[in-house]
Amino acid sequence: MTMKSSTRQVDGVTIVDLSGRITLGEGSVILRDVVRDLLSKGQKKILLNLGDVNYIDSSGIGELVSAFTTAKKQGGELKLLNLTKKVHDLLQITKLYTVFDVKDDEAGAVKAFGQ
């Protein structure tokens, strides 16, 4: 299953709902394009909803890091929402869990932006 993404706005925050696999190739490219497109349009509060992302490889992890650092460099904020156990475990063993701002409640995550 390849990755799909859709975006919606909630209180000034762009929530990107992702589903499928973030892996080398199409999945990583889609994520990169979505985040770059949002930042270029000035939408700098980005919440990546990974609730339906069932698989991620090292390339996908790299793309999440890239999205996080790119947003930060442009004065934006990027947070992660609803990690599946697989993605949570991967971020734990790569020590990235504490680097990312990870949330498990959408309303709380939206409120956390800009604070």
Binding site: D57, S59, V65, T69, T94
Partner: protein
């Protein structure tokens, strides 16, 4: 041993084979990465590993295939990747070889070092080592061989013993 040459679609071929060892010769493409992952998942499941172990094995094989295709052979259509699975009573052994310049293991970064945490690459070998019990990297001027082993234990060992 059964050797399959050039098959991008690995599904179906393994299932019909009753051998303890199977190997594939594959093109240096993204399809190879996906096929290697699928084959690893299926073979690990057939060997009796539980879902979590199957995921780890298939992910380790995916990362190894990415290294072989992307970093080893650099998508060169004239270069091939060979992938072999062997099941023994104690282990699932996976060997993947590329035809690249040979991985310089002295230059492998520590992805957990603070200065590397925000790097966008360099986690593949680390993940393979995290997920498999034994990982050996044998670089040479004609390519790199990566050999990895997952020990059979728990439910996998039980099903293995029951089938003997």
């Amino acid at each position: 041993m059964v050797t399959v040459v050039g098959g991008q679609s690995l599904l179906g071929t393994v299932r019909s084979m009753c051998a303890n060892r199977v190997s594939y010769t594959l093109d240096s493409t993204l399809e190879t990465v996906n096929s290697a992952e699928e084959a690893a998942g299926r073979i690990a499941a057939e060997a009796g590993f539980d879902d979590e172990e199957v995921m780890k094995i298939s992910m380790a094989v995916r990362e190894a295939a990415v290294n072989a295709v992307l970093h080893g052979n650099a998508y060169d259509p004239s270069k091939k990747v060979t992938l072999a699975f062997e099941r023994t009573a104690r282990d699932l052994i996976v060997v993947i070889r590329d035809q690249g310049k040979g991985l310089d293991t002295s230059r492998l970064p520590d992805p957990l070092a603070p200065e590397n945490l925000l790097k966008t690459s360099g986690r593949g070998i680390f993940l393979i080592r995290s997920f498999m019990d034994v990982v050996e990297i044998h670089p040479s001027k004609t390519g790199t061989e990566l050999r990895m082993i997952k020990h059979v234990h728990g439910s996998a060992a039980d099903s293995k013993e029951a089938s003997q």
